[in-house]
Each structure stands twice: as structure tokens, then as C-alpha cells.
């Protein structure tokens, strides 16, 4: 039987269109999209007709950088955040550096929920930075790209080989850019605030130096390359110039890098300790501009659950990372509310763009595609409350933040996954 969602403001990032219309789904597929199409058939032919007056419908979000670990239990948080597909970092224990782990994760995910869960493989075995993984076999096993997660490939020869080799399988190599020698034992951005707090700083140059080196190798090899978690003005500049030059490069950032700056760690707030660290206001503005001018292609949550015991420690010893699934949409919508981006452009960076980068069949509302939908109200005000998070962990610096934009319904494979 068919379900009709009618009179919705439809955002189709694939066709680059925004219109008022209906979406008809049957089982797990979208069977028709367009203005007033539900009238083609008699009402009794639909199980339900949902009038979505004033609400927006877009494809379910695709979050291209999350850490789930095992057991996989964060699907409820993903659905609550309007996300219908995630790509997990290979930073599990054991690392996704061989086919059996990759297959185990995918199988386990299917058992738990219908969330589209993909995984990356590591570039090097056990993130050792030296020995390449079986990229071919892993690609065949369904891995969507290769990254050493929160570690940069430091050795230029290793990265060159990885880029060259990945071409044989048309695989994507994803770099987390941070020079570990320059970052040293730093725990926050290097600058006046780190000086005042007496915390060791990570200079912003630690990021761009890796990107600039990598771009040389990408230019030389012609491989598919993506930069994750861009956080500095210099990085945006470097990638912008590379794109102008015609080098094949894509990149993403997380909401914390365009909504917060280093001031968030004042008073040693470990909940704002992330990697890369929150940068200066100048950097934050540059990230917004990078999103505006298209330099930054995608927005991901960099969801990294940590239990409170790992955060309630002196700043030096606290773990990095924040839970981001349930704040991804409202924080990204700030770009729309403050008129940096159009609503359609915000949604593109959360759907079509990451899908294109990863060559995934998501982010589209075309007839015959999977019924993964997000129904949301971009204007609805609310206050972030971590206690209401579906995520098991509550490590978010955004608690109590007044926000705008609520997920009304998440539909995954035709099923209403949120509210459950």
C-alpha cells in the first residue's frame, strides 16, 4: 500500500529544486514526486495521506563521519537527528583493516536496524602509518573509502603509494590532516586563550601543512582524495586554490567548526575538547565562507561518543570528541538562518554532496529511489537538552543552546524510524 505525503515544501538537492508538492512511497521506494500528484489516484488507494503543510521534506541526511564502535547502538540517535545513512570511521577495536571486520560491522548493523550503515577501511594496517591495507578486497567487501580516522598519514611515501594504489579500485582516500609533530602534546588551539589557560597549543599550521603536501601528491597521482574536518582559514584557502587549479579534491567540516571558536574551552570545558581543536574566530568565519563559496563540500557530525568519566578530568587528560548526530541538522541550519546559505544549499551539504563524494545512492528524491526521507521544520525554536538525546553518551558542548530547526519525522526504507 502507498503512503502519500502531500503539500510539503520539497527540497530536492539532486535536481536542485524546491517546490510544493507530494511524495508517494510504496514499501521502501519513492514511486512518485511532484506537485499535486496524489490526486492521480483515489484516496482509498493510500494507507495514509499525511498533510505536510508548512513542513519541508528532503532526502534523509547522510553523515559521512561518525564513530560508532561496537555494539552498534547509535541508530536511534541517527534517526532522531534526521539521518538515514552514516559512514563509520574504522577506529573500532579491532580496526577495520581486513575484510572480516568490515563484514562483521555491516552484518551487525543490518541485524540491529535498517539505518544505512557503511564503513570506511583504514589506509594502513592497525593505523600503523606504514603498511597498506588490502584496499581491493576491502572495496569488494563494501568499504566506502579509506582513512586512518583520527590519524594523519605522515609518511609521504606511504600516502603516495596509497593514492596510487587506490586508483586501481577507484577508491577514495580520506585524510585527517594534523601534523603530529607540530601538534605534539597540544590539547587546544594555539593562541591567546591557550596561553592564558596554560594549555599546550596545536598551531593551526599543523593542519594546512599536511593538506598542502597531500595536494602535491594528489596532483601527481590523480587519485580521489578527500580532506576531513577542515578547521582553519589556511586550509580553506589551500583547498580553494587547489580546486581553482583543477586538482580533484573534496572536503568536509563539522558544525562545531562554524558555530564555535576556541572561547568555548575557556574555564577548561572538556566537553568542547575536540580534534582538530576549536580554532579562532577568524578561522570560524573562514569556514563559513568556505561553505558559502563551495570550497567545503559537505558537513558531517564527527559523532564521537565519550562517557562522562572520560570527560570529567583535567583538560589534558580528558578524551576528545562530541556527540553530534542529534545536533547536526539544527546547527547546520544556523547557516540558513544567518543567511550564509540557502536552505537547499545546507541540505545539499548534508545529502547529495557527501553521496556524490562517496559514490553512494543517497541524497535523491527521484522516482524509484529508496524512501529515505526527512520531514522537518527549519524554523521551530527549541533548546538543546542532552538529557533527551537518544545517543548513549551526552558529551556535547551545545547543551542548553537555543536552536532552531526540528526533525519532525525520519523515514528510512519507507518505515517511520523517528519518532519511533
Amino acid at each position: 500500500m502507498k503512503e502519500a505525503y502531500i503539500n510539503a515544501k520539497i527540497l530536492d538537492p539532486h535536481k536542485n529544486k524546491e517546490f510544493i508538492g507530494d511524495i508517494i512511497i510504496e514499501k521502501d521506494k519513492i514511486i512518485d514526486v511532484g506537485p499535486n500528484i496524489h490526486k492521480k489516484e483515489k484516496p482509498k488507494n493510500y494507507t495514509n495521506i499525511h498533510d505536510c503543510k508548512n513542513l519541508f521534506i528532503c532526502p534523509g541526511l547522510l553523515d559521512m563521519r561518525v564513530s560508532f564502535g561496537e555494539p552498534i547502538s547509535e541508530h536511534k540517535a541517527a534517526f532522531a537527528g534526521g539521518i538515514t545513512a552514516v559512514v563509520c570511521l574504522p577506529n573500532t577495536d579491532p580496526v577495520v583493516d581486513n575484510v572480516s571486520v568490515a563484514e562483521y560491522i555491516q552484518r551487525k548493523a543490518r541485524e540491529v536496524s535498517n539505518l544505512n550503515l557503511y564503513t570506511y577501511g583504514s589506509i594502513t594496517k592497525n593505523f600503523d602509518g606504514e603498511n597498506l591495507c588490502e584496499m581491493g578486497l576491502l572495496s569488494k567487501a563494501g568499504v566506502k573509502g579509506f582513512t586512518d580516522a583520527t590519524k594523519s598519514i605522515e609518511n609521504s611515501a606511504v600516502l603516495k603509494r596509497a593514492l596510487e594504489y587506490s586508483k586501481a579500485f577507484d577508491s577514495l582516500v580520506i585524510q585527517f590532516p594534523e601534523d603530529k609533530n607540530l601538534a605534539n602534546d597540544g590539547v587546544m588551539n594555539e593562541g591567546e586563550i591557550s596561553t592564558r589557560l596554560g594549555l599546550a597549543g596545536i598551531p593551526s599550521i599543523a593542519e594546512v601543512i599536511i593538506i598542502e603536501r597531500d595536494l602535491r601528491l594528489v596532483e601527481a597521482t590523480g587519485a580521489k582524495y578527500h580532506v576531513s574536518c577542515v578547521s582553519t582559514a589556511e586550509s580553506v584557502e589551500a583547498i580553494k586554490n587547489a580546486k581553482k587549479k583543477g586538482i580533484k579534491v573534496t572536503c568536509d567540516t563539522s558544525p562545531q567548526y562554524f558555530t564555535l571558536n576556541e572561547m568555548a574551552v575557556e574555564d577548561y570545558r572538556t566537553f568542547a575538547k575536540v580534534s582538530p581543536p576549536l580554532r579562532s574566530e577568524k578561522d570560524r568565519v573562514a569556514i563559513v565562507n568556505g561553505l558559502k563559496d563551495g570550497t567545503i563540500d559537505a558537513i558531517q557530525s564527527d559523532h564521537m561518543p565519550q562517557d562522562e568519566d572520560n570527560k570529567r578530568l583535567p583538560f589534558n587528560n580528558a578524551e576528545k570528541g562530541i556527540v553530534g548526530l542529534e545536533t547536526l541538522l539544527p546547527l547546520s541550519l544556523e547557516l540558513y538562518h544567518n543567511k550564509s546559505l540557502s536552505l537547499l544549499d545546507v541540505i545539499k551539504k548534508l545529502t547529495k554532496n557527501p553521496a556524490d563524494i562517496l559514490n553512494l545512492d543517497h541524497g535523491t528524491l527521484s522516482k524509484g529511489s529508496k524512501a529515505d526521507l526527512l520531514i522537518f521544520d527549519p524554523n521551530k525554536p527549541f533548546i538543546v537538552n542532552v538529557k533527551k538525546f537518544k545517543s548513549k553518551s551526552k558529551n556535547s558542548p551545545f547543551d542548553k543552546k537555543p536552536s532552531q530547526g526540528k526533525v519532525i519525522k525520519t523515514i528510512c526504507s519507507g518505515e517511520v524510524s523517528y519518532p519511533a
Binding site: D185, E192, G198, A200, P203, P314, F315
Partner: protein, 317 residues
């Protein structure tokens, strides 16, 4: 900690964690009281036991001789029961978290907890979990407020007024909590601050704190009234900062020749412990006409007495 209804408290905040927490009138109160105790300590006069029936616990996660002794002596002179906990031999080594340690000590109803910790911000974290007054006796490379107060008192007793003095802080500024606290406090009191150090030991954007930065010691010392030397903290140096101590002494060690650039009556300070022959010429350190190093230690006890008294004033013991 119960605050009395008609609070007689001298300090606004319940803890002494950072110089930034102190207003100028509060600094004045502390320094005046400390000055009184400095004289009283000298005359071996009878000191009112204002901390009688109070319990003071020193909890040091880093080794210390001077600061720990100084605090314990200060507590004893005011009549408090003081207990020292050697953190290296305690439950912390057995994996207890800082917050659990705080809760445990809290349950023992101390009045003042004096804490030193190798991580910046750790003392503040601990202070959020206890009901007693907490004094930061040094946290990582962040702050050491009582050191800055004792330095201010030492300067005040020798130069009368701190306002408009030229004060140079020289050496390992990057790893120094003493430097941070002194920059904040002495600037607050109207001195003109400058730091002198090799570029690798200058924290990023420190000029934003309203001070001058020099990498040439001879230029930096011109017109200085006070030359404050810092210990080269070899134990905190992960990685390369200076090629050798020999080279360091040549360019950044205080010797007779470099000191000539400062004012004729410039005085030398050092928070100790000193690396003789690395940051300071041995004979200069011992020159009683120029060096205030021993006076600093003496003022330390007086300042800590004042801090203990002022923090517990108005508390129902």
C-alpha cells in the same frame, strides 16, 4: 562551608584559584595583611591563632619543598591543624580519579584545601566538587597565585610602589605558571611588564596580555627596576626548545654584564629552585644587595598566612 549571615568575608570568591579572580581592593587587603604578618613573623611576636580549630590539608600531586613547607608553616603559625597528603603515595597512584579524591577529602570536612597539580585547570576542577576553600598552589603551566602575591609583597617592601615600575620576566615563560600569575597581578597593580626569552619559550600571543616581548636580553633589560628570572623547566620540555644550557646561559642567563643594562638599583628575583649557571650567575644570586631571593621565601609564609586567614574569615568553623 557555611557562610555567616552577616558575612565578614574579605574575598568575594570562596577559592583562590587564579590572580584573575582577585580585584585590586582584594589584592590590597591580602598584601596589607601579609605585610603585617611579615613584620610579626620577624619580631617573633605573638600571633593571634585565627585558624584555631581549622583543618588545612595540603594535597600535592607534584613534588615541592618550598611551597608545601611554606603553606604548612603558615597554617601552623595561625594555629590550624595541618595535614600533608603525599599524592604520589596515595590512592591516586592506585587509579583514583581527581574528582573521587576531591569527594573523599570533602567528606573529611577540611576548611582549606591547598592543591598543586601537574595539569592546568585541575585545581579548578577539584574546587568545583568540594565545600571548603581551595588554594591553587600551582596548576600545570597555568597559575600560581600565591607566588605572584608574595612577589608583589617583596617588590612593595623594597620599592615602595609597584605602579610604573619596569619589571622584566626572563626565561622559560612558556612553561611557567609563575610568569602568568605575575604578569596578570603586577599589570593589575600598574607595573609595566615585559618578558625576555628565546622565541621558542614565548607563549603564542602573550603580547595580547598587554606586555612587551623581547628576544634580546640586553635590549629587554634596559631601564628595568626588577629583573625576575625563571627556572628553565627541563622536566616540562617535551621536544626541543633550547639547544643547550650553555648556549642558554650565554644569551639568556643573568650575569653581571647583562645586569648593567638595567637600572643601577635594579633588584633580582627568582621563584626558585634555581639552576645556578643556567639562568643565573651564581654570585649574582648570592649578592644580598641585589638579590631578593631569600626575602621572597620569607614573604611566602606571610602571604600564605594572609590568604589562609582571609579565605576562612567569615566562615562558620
Amino acid at each position: 562551608m557555611k557562610l555567616l549571615k552577616d558575612s565578614k568575608r574579605a574575598l568575594l570568591k570562596p577559592h583562590l584559584l587564579s590572580v584573575e579572580d582577585l580585584s585590586i581592593p582584594e589584592v590590597d587587603i591580602l598584601l596589607n595583611k601579609a605585610n603585617f604578618y611579615a613584620d610579626a613573623n620577624k619580631q617573633k611576636g605573638k600571633i593571634e591563632k585565627t585558624l584555631k580549630r581549622s583543618t588545612v590539608i595540603t594535597l600535592f600531586f607534584e613534588t615541592s619543598t618550598r611551597t608545601k613547607t611554606s603553606f604548612e608553616l603558615a597554617a601552623k603559625r595561625l594555629g590550624a591543624n595541618s595535614i600533608g597528603i603525599n599524592a604520589s603515595a596515595s590512592a591516586i597512584k592506585k587509579g583514583e580519579t581527581l574528582i573521587d579524591t576531591a569527594m573523599t577529602l570533602n567528606a573529611m570536612h577540611a576548611d582549606v584545601l591547598i592543591v598543586r597539580h601537574p595539569d592546568s585547570g585541575a585545581v579548578k576542577l577539584l574546587s568545583e566538587k568540594v565545600n571548603c576553600a581551595v588554594i591553587n598552589a600551582g596548576d600545570g603551566t597555568h597559575e600560581h597565585p600565591t607566588q605572584a602575591l608574595l612577589d608583589a609583597l617583596t617588590i612593595k617592601r623594597n620599592k615602595k610602589n609597584i605602579k610604573n615600575l619596569n619589571i622584566a620576566i626572563c626565561g622559560d615563560v612558556l612553561h611557567s605558571r609563575v610568569a602568568r600569575s605575575n604578569i596578570l597581578l603586577l599589570s593589575k597593580l600598574g607595573a609595566r611588564l615585559r618578558v625576555i626569552a628565546p622565541p621558542t619559550l614565548i607563549p603564542k600571543n602573550i603580547e595580547n596580555l598587554g606586555i612587551e616581548v623581547f628576544t634580546d636580553m640586553k635590549k629587554g633589560l634596559v631601564d628595568c627596576d626588577i629583573v625576575m628570572m625563571l627556572r628553565l623547566q627541563m622536566e616540562r620540555m617535551k621536544g626541543l626548545y633550547v639547544p643547550s644550557t650553555k648556549e642558554y646561559f650565554k644569551f639568556y642567563g643573568l650575569d653581571h654584564e647583562k645586569l648593567k643594562k638595567a637600572k643601577k638599583d635594579a633588584l633580582i628575583m627568582h621563584p626558585g629552585p634555581m639552576n645556578r649557571g643556567i639562568e643565573i650567575d651564581s654570585s649574582l644570586a648570592d649578592n644580598l644587595d641585589r638579590s631578593l631571593i631569600h626575602q621572597q621565601v620569607e614573604m611566602g609564609v606571610a602571604v600564605r598566612m594572609a590568604c589562609l586567614e582571609m579565605l576562612t574569615l567569615g566562615i562558620d568553623k
